[in-house]
């Protein structure tokens, strides 16, 4: 177990977006979160690196433990949490800087300024997302000149550069075509050896292809959480069955 939530509730002002969520996420697995639009998948994901803190009027009750530390405890170091738990966004959000500066961003935030160390980190991170051979001579190019798929890879590389333990991915392929999606999925399967991945996806096939465990959410509730096999072939809850068999959503 790496992440545990207990009786987790989240309110946007009066509106309750997460209802009593209890789940355990295991190390070095890919956990997929599925459910219809607006059910709270992104909200749940943003719980784990406390990105919801940036939104005005958010109130959270219950507990979220990572390695048995309560990440919402007042003494918990938020900045350190963001280093341990990295996030890839729905649309690639490479900064309007060079490829090198994008990947060196995290390490620089963490006060690494030695040129040689930075270069090593940049090269290692690019290699980890299979971009190094493509870009090794172009590190000074603006990152925004890359294709969407490569930008998304770059964003993953930027994340790996700070050596996180957990990767949160919020529909990382929704801006990509099927071929690029396939490549990113391969990359995730490769990354799972070293990292724990939680991915939100609209796409049930994608969850079935890559996730080890799957959570199904509906209207802020975690309806079902089990191995991918069970959820997709033998769901316990009727609502899960209806969703995966395409009755709604």
């Amino acid at each position: 177990m790496i992440i545990n939530t207990a009786n987790l509730n989240l309110y946007y002002h009066k509106f309750q977006a997460l209802k009593n969520v209890n789940m355990s996420i295991k190390r070095n697995l890919i956990t997929g979160m599925i459910g219809p639009s607006g059910c709270g998948k992104s909200t749940l994901l943003r719980i784990f690196n406390r990105m919801n803190d940036l939104i005005e009027g958010v109130r959270i009750t219950g507990s979220v433990l990572i390695d048995n530390d309560d990440i919402y405890a007042p003494v918990y170091d938020l900045i350190l949490l963001r280093k341990r738990v990295g996030m890839v966004f729905q649309r690639p959000n490479a900064f309007p800087l060079s490829i090198f500066d994008n990947i060196a961003y995290g390490p620089r935030v963490w006060s690494i300024s030695d040129k040689k160390t930075l270069t090593e980190i940049v090269e290692r991170s690019l290699a980890a997302v299979d971009l190094f051979d493509d870009l090794k001579d172009d590190l000074r190019r603006p990152a925004l000149s890359l294709s969407a798929e490569k930008q998304q890879r770059l964003c993953i590389a930027r994340l790996l550069a700070v050596e996180p333990e957990i990767l949160l991915m919020d529909e990382p392929c929704s801006a990509l075509d099927p071929i690029a999606t396939g490549k990113i999925e391969e990359l995730m399967l490769d990354l799972k050896k070293k990292y724990t991945i939680i991915i939100v996806t609209h796409n049930m096939q994608q969850a079935a292809r890559i996730a080890d465990e799957v959570g199904f959410m509906l209207l802020g509730e975690l309806v079902e959480f089990d191995t991918a096999k069970t959820v997709f072939t033998n769901p316990k809850d009727k609502r899960t069955f209806d969703y995966i068999s395409g009755r709604f959503g």
């Binding site: 990105m51 990295g86 959000n93 309007p96 800087l97 995290g106 935030v109 963490w110 700070v162």
Partner: protein, 277 residues
């Protein structure tokens, strides 16, 4: 029918505006440029300004204009940027909504008021602390720097707000603090807007007349230090046009033409930079 008339009327008004601007431009150049060639470029860009006795050198005034402009930027850029960053990133939306219009209102204060404050407070202060006449490059730079603050703050603020939210999120998600996010992502991303604001402020500084006449001292020489008095192109035109005649008058128009060219040049650069993504 009514629409047609309104349309024609608007068109007519728009054309009159453009026409009068073109006429002014044409008039300034037509009055000024011939003198530059009559006097010769060597004379025109020399130090000897004695326009009633054939000396048409504007060099010390060009240098004067550039010095107070650079001085104004040295004051205006750091304070203006700091103000914009504070407003855009470190203050609540209530503060933003109150402070931004107030700052923009500052742009409407007549320059004679700034000049007056300069004479009453700043000039004596400089004279006492640093010595010298007090009427100086330094005094003009500080007052002009304050006068261009609204331009720099409000344009830089807009540029910072226009930076997509996703950049901020990406930066915070990597563990960056607010300040790191500002320095490492937001400022680079907003750079073109900020530079445009600075250049517009620069145009305002170089064209400012009244405040400068009141506090710069207007001595006709290249200043040796920032405590020396200085005269700008705009001051010369305003001070001398009242009694100038003949070639002297033409020489003032030539000063105007040069000023005009400098400002057009700055505006072109500003538009170029803003349009570039």
């Amino acid at each position: 029918m009514k629409d047609k008339i309104a349309e024609k009327l608007l068109l007519f008004i728009a054309f009159s505006a453009i026409l009068s601007l073109s006429l002014i431009t044409f008039f300034i150049f037509q009055q000024g440029i011939p003198l530059i060639f009559k006097a010769g470029l060597g004379n025109f860009f020399s130090l000897r300004w004695a326009p009633t006795r054939g000396g048409f050198g504007i060099l010390s005034m060009v240098v004067g204009s550039l010095m107070v402009t650079i001085g104004a930027l040295a004051v205006g850029i750091p304070f203006g940027l700091a103000g914009a960053i504070f407003l855009a990133e470190f203050s609540s939306s209530t503060i933003q909504k109150t402070l931004k219009p107030v700052i923009e209102l500052l742009a409407g204060i007549p320059s004679v008021v700034f000049g007056f404050i300069g004479i009453v407070i700043l000039v004596p202060f400089i004279r006492e602390i640093f010595g010298g006449p007090g009427f100086s490059v330094l005094a003009a730079s500080i007052i002009l720097g304050i006068m261009i603050l609204p331009t720099i703050v409000s344009i830089s603020y807009d540029a910072l707000l226009a930076v997509p939210k996703t950049y901020r999120e990406g930066s915070y998600a990597l563990g960056a603090t607010k300040w790191q996010t500002v320095v490492m992502v937001l400022l680079p991303a907003a750079r073109s807007g900020i530079v445009a604001g600075i250049i517009l402020g620069m145009g305002r500084a170089i064209g400012e007349t009244m405040a400068v006449i009141m506090i710069a001292g207007n001595a006709l020489k290249i200043p040796g230090s920032i405590l020396d008095s200085v005269r700008t192109l705009t001051s010369t035109i305003a001070l001398e046009l009242g009694y100038a005649a003949g070639d002297h008058r033409a020489a003032l128009f030539a000063c105007g033409s040069i000023l005009f060219l400098i400002i057009i040049f700055l505006n072109i650069i500003a538009t170029r930079i803003t349009n570039r993504k």
